[in-house]
Assembly symmetry: C2
Homo-oligomer: 402 residues x 2
């Protein structure tokens, strides 16, 4: 925010950024599955699957204390450790860590980079074993269900049969819902936050704008930019800027920036970042392209677009949860206009109809969709209470008084 960044200016050093990302990705353990295949919803089969992940805490002797955290669109496996690419804290350190609501002193916490991602799990920037070159658009499209199936393979690899909880916000919440639908017997409790059982027309529209921004960049080269030694960083930055607006509320933008000018008293009557909100957005765009692969952005947004859990169950969402014994806690935020409370209510209504035990909280916040990533005391309290209760039901030792 203290710098003016013009994404139309000379290219950013994204080659270096990618090299750093690739060098750093091995910081995470990577599970390989030689000889196994993953059958995708697209009808194709993925060979040589690799899943990069992080774990925190230790499994107990009965292996009943595992919690799977699912990350959102541009998240990664670095939930609660310094991110090796950005040098910033893990993306959910507000909730995950020793003594935190998702307490790594009690629970064995697992998070994997999603299928289609760019932090070590197989995605479009991975090497296609059939050609020896990066997949690019030859990588088959993946769905939220494919992501969950890959995570299930990882759990098998780690020797975790049942999850005490699967938790996540936004696209992470979609995975939570899919987990219960696909593997009801493996999930004791589920915490979907700021999410929806299907992506709305407006959200598909915003994703399409982002994809078109990437694909309109001549450096995209039909998805094969890695072979040309370039990256469509300008298009990706525009995509990130547009998306970032949707993560915040009008009120949050007003409170943070209003119409305040950047480092000056009067407008410049030009196209530099006159307003603080412009400078902030440019910075968001610029820093994002240093850490994210443009093709992964296409794949993962597409997976969200395709998500419509009811469609797998004759259009009746309740059928997705029929017979499940999983306990649910559904959370939304009042100012989230990307995944508004009505989306969470639809999930709750379906769970009610299926007879599943569910609690629901709409948290008062003016921080928009981003609230699930921020320090929201009510979210912390709800998460702690829900996990305490789930742990008690599962026969885990009670939490120490804090």
């Amino acid at each position: 925010m203290d710098r003016l960044i013009n994404i139309a200016a000379p290219p950013l050093d994204t080659e270096e950024a990618r090299a750093r990302r690739e060098a750093d990705a091995p910081h995470s353990p990577v599970a390989s599955f030689p000889g196994e295949t993953l059958r995708l919803d697209a009808g194709l089969v993925l060979h040589d699957l690799q899943i990069a992940y992080q774990t925190y805490g230790e499994p107990n002797a009965a292996r009943t204390n595992a919690i799977l955290v699912c990350h959102a669109l541009t998240g990664d496996q670095h939930v609660a450790n310094v991110n090796p690419v950005t040098g910033k804290p893990g993306w959910w350190e507000t909730l995950v860590g020793p003594g935190k609501p998702i307490d790594t002193e009690r629970f064995y916490v697992i998070c994997a980079n999603v299928l289609g991602g760019c932090m070590g799990t197989t995605g479009p920037s991975s090497t296609n074993p059939q050609t020896g070159r990066p997949y690019g658009l030859d990588m088959p499209l993946v769905t939220i269900r494919d992501m969950v199936n890959a995570q299930a393979m990882l759990l098998d690899h780690l020797g975790i049969e049942r999850l005490l909880c699967v938790a996540g916000g936004s696209m992470g919440g979609m995975q939570v819902l899919q987990w219960v639908a696909s593997y009801p017997e493996r999930v004791v409790s589920a915490l979907p936050i700021a999410t929806a059982a299907r992506h709305s027309a407006q959200n598909i529209a915003f994703h399409e704008v982002g994809r078109q921004a990437v694909m309109a960049d001549p450096d995209w080269h039909g998805g094969h930019y890695l072979q040309f030694g370039v990256t469509p960083h300008r298009g990706l930055a525009v995509a990130r800027m547009a998306a970032h607006i949707t993560y915040m509320s009008d009120q949050a933008l007003h409170r943070k920036f209003g119409r305040r000018l950047q480092d000056r008293a009067l407008p410049t009557f030009g196209f530099d970042a006159d307003f603080q909100v412009e400078s902030y957005l440019r910075h968001q765009g610029e820093s994002f392209v240093q850490r994210f692969d443009p093709n992964s952005y296409l794949y993962v947004t597409r997976a969200m677009d395709y998500f419509d859990l009811a469609a797998e169950y004759d259009g009746v969402l309740a059928n997705a949860f029929r017979g499940s014994k999983t306990r649910f806690c559904v959370v939304s935020f009042t100012s989230d206009w990307l995944f508004p409370t009505q989306d969470s209510r639809a999930i709750v209504h379906a769970l009610n109809a299926s007879g599943a035990p569910v609690s629901f909280a709409e948290i008062e916040s003016d921080k928009g969709h981003d609230a699930f990533l921020l320090d929201e005391p009510e979210l912390s309290d709800i998460t702690r209470g829900f996990l305490d209760s789930a742990a008690k039901t599962a026969g885990l030792p009670v939490a120490r008084d804090r």
Copy 2:
């Protein structure tokens, strides 16, 4: 909507489109002001101003029946005639025409292409008289007040001293407010629709994304693309797509498109326009670049960003209207999230504080910001009633029964 358009595909024929636009622009009368200058808020002076405009109906003998219509960001002077560039009906034929609420059998209706525009009024694609080449970014930035000052010159040119009404939606509504502030004695009544007295942080943010999309297109060439025989059509299309989402409501997008697929039963598992909403947006982007100049898009969005009427009056909006005898009718739409009702209420509160006569209507509609351009019977009724009353006050003959 019936075609798949991929803006990442080979360039559209925008050269031809521009030639057509330039050939057609003279369809409108153009007012020139030889020897006169327009002093801009940016502190610079504009020479050889040209204003392209349309008129409908005839002035009465006393010249008391003139109504100025102000167009929005991507509108133009073709309010109520077939647009020579698009071949489509005028943009406000729902409200303007013979027997319509803004009745061209009673009123003399004027609309000018805004300063900075690309339909014949001086803008960045106009020839810079000092160089003989298109201005590009050498055109000084313009403000809403500059646009209004240029319109005032046009009215002088047309021999219209006072306006029975000045009316417009969105950026048109900003001009309406500025008209009363700058020329209170020239405006009998004012009809600002779906607008605000200042542009919000969120709206500045969306505009900045659009500008960055244009400026990130290598074909933009620092604004001098005309000299290179190209146009940054890909960037402009992305800008339009992002903006278009903000013109509609979530409900309208859901009602129009939902998650329906485009001409097929199953998803393609690719990046073509699978969903109807994607195809629609691509079409919006593609058709826009055929009719609009990318630099004009930068200039006119910037004018909106800078609009903060209270700032000219010690931060007190009511002072902008103090002493004015203009009668106001302020209109908003329930589902407009770009210019929400609270923005209109702020205008009404200021008018109340200034003692100006004002009526206010929030119209129930699920069509979002676009509602002001669509067939909204309540808007028609309100407009007809308000103008009837203004005409009566001004001593015009009563309207015939219809």
